[in-house]
Symmetry: C2
């Protein structure tokens, strides 16, 4: 309760410790989230995604400044879907965001998890809850890529910003196919480069093919130029932060916020079920050495994975 | 049995139908894999990964030709981790591979799955088994990105080729962190572009920091130029296909093949367990309307996901 009180008062150390415990998947973190959950639901959660090299971190850094000018408090979650082998989060150029570290209206954390698929997305959802209860008006969750796992992470958001850069080659079609249905705002970053017009045209023709947008929100396509060109860059960041707030207002006005909240909730249920049902079985099998023994039998082709899984299921399920 | 016999005889229609059934996650596909599994383990499975726009499809297309010259038969699996909303695989520029369609020594399929996280990786593992039993010497599995899910897909491989392009920006550090430990061969594609030397140097310094490589295999860094420059392109493809075969030989000679096979097997066990334990519970909860009802309670903040998951677990687990 003391922990909840401190987090609600915005205490950075308590919140940080809890997020670290979430990352490590400690049992006390789960208990804390159970207490925190009823107090969540106030913050506007913004997912920011795009391929590596699209300049998302620079954008997030500038967005923080733009929201602060609008007197909004900001939480930032940098999500690193790193390899299950390394486990660690690479801070890299995110260090530059540290210029906001002294500002009590800004709270920035990186997140990575070891362990099972799905673990990262669960930790993201829970870390968002922590920042929500801290009272942050906006929470920016930055993630790499547009694979299925990233989509799950993005599904914890109310507003999704997709960052593209000109000249990514043929496979942009593949990316677009995956993101068209989740993007609320498109950003063409590094728009001073060759190919920006072509990219904008391609996006426009894809959007023109959509017969009707939910809530009448046609995802805007914003161009952001070189960040070393401060005046136009600052203006386009202002435009982006306004679009993000505008999208949230539209969700509220058109009653679509409920749909987003539901999508977010379904992702959370799935993750919690995986955590409560599958993980303990995997853990027990690993600790008892059964997993090792099964691997041996499969390698010797004495059985197949489906037969084994059926046996384990019969043993554990009622 | 008839199905197994036909697939072992290389029958394209039977194999294609089974792969389509795997994609749809039909029960008869699972039964087929149970029969097929004991006959697997002959093929050399090569995972090819890299960011969108890295030119992997062009590379795979040229690799097929190079392996055919070496009189190897080839299976190709193009993996599309598309959004769970769209579900469909985008063929895009992969169409160009169709020039090999008439060659009975080549078998190309695209794979995408709707549905749950982990479903795609399972389908990949099983489709690889089908191509293996068809008698393909090499199976190339091409996937987009280096997120955790892609790593799981890549873990079905014996040899992992990571494709990079010059000028991907700051976040290349993030990509590298995830792939350094899984890459067996690095390819710098589009090496005629600016920044190729810098990328090669960065890779070399990262590799120089590794104190010892398992089996003494230091991942080579190969440069591949413009594909419209046929002679040097053909030569570097020859070099790549030789490196791939060389890596497999090294795995056999140094007894490291067992480790790779074990990694592959562990991924398969995890996926089969998810499929046998968690999926049926999710399905039942969805069909009975319970999932919907739980979502309502969570949205009204009457409870939290962990409490719900604990209740469901107690109800289903022995």
């Amino acid at each position: 309760m003391e922990q909840l009180r401190k987090i609600r008062a915005g205490d950075v150390r308590t919140a940080s410790r809890l997020i670290r415990n979430l990352e490590e998947d400690l049992p006390e973190a789960k208990t804390a989230i159970m207490r925190i959950f009823p107090h969540t639901g106030r913050a506007h959660v913004v997912g920011i995604t795009g391929a590596p090299g699209a300049g998302k971190s620079t954008l997030v850094d500038a967005l923080i400044a733009s929201f602060r000018k609008k007197e909004k408090t900001v939480g930032v979650l940098c999500v690193d879907p790193t390899s299950p082998f390394t486990g660690g989060a690479i801070l890299g150029d995110r260090l530059r965001m540290q210029r906001h570290a002294e500002d009590p209206g800004v709270f920035i954390r990186s997140l990575a998890t070891r362990g099972a698929l799905g673990g990262l997305s669960k930790a993201v959802g829970d870390a968002v809850h922590v920042m929500d209860v801290m009272g942050k008006d906006l929470i920016l969750a930055e993630t790499v890529g547009t694979g299925q796992q990233e989509v799950e992470i993005i599904n914890h958001s109310h507003t999704v910003v997709v960052v593209l850069v000109p000249g990514m080659g043929d496979e942009i079609q593949t990316i677009k196919a995956g993101i068209m249905e989740i993007a609320d705002i498109f950003v063409i970053n590094k728009a001073d480069r060759n190919g920006a017009d072509q990219l904008a045209n391609e996006l426009a023709s894809m959007l023109n093919m959509v017969p009707e947008f939910p809530g009448g929100w046609r995802p805007p396509v914003l161009r952001i130029g070189n960040c070393f060109d401060p005046v136009p860059f600052g203006e386009s960041m202002e435009e982006l932060s306004t679009a993000i707030i505008g999208h949230h207002r539209r969700l509220v006005e058109t009653d679509l916020l409920g749909d987003r909240m539901k999508r977010k909730t379904m992702v959370e249920i799935h993750e919690a079920l995986r955590d409560a049902i599958l993980e303990p079985i995997l853990k027990e099998m690993t600790q008892s050495g059964e997993m090792e023994e099964i691997a041996g039998r499969l390698l010797r082709k004495e059985t197949d994975p489906y037969t084994i899984a059926g046996e384990v299921a019969r043993r554990h399920l009622k």
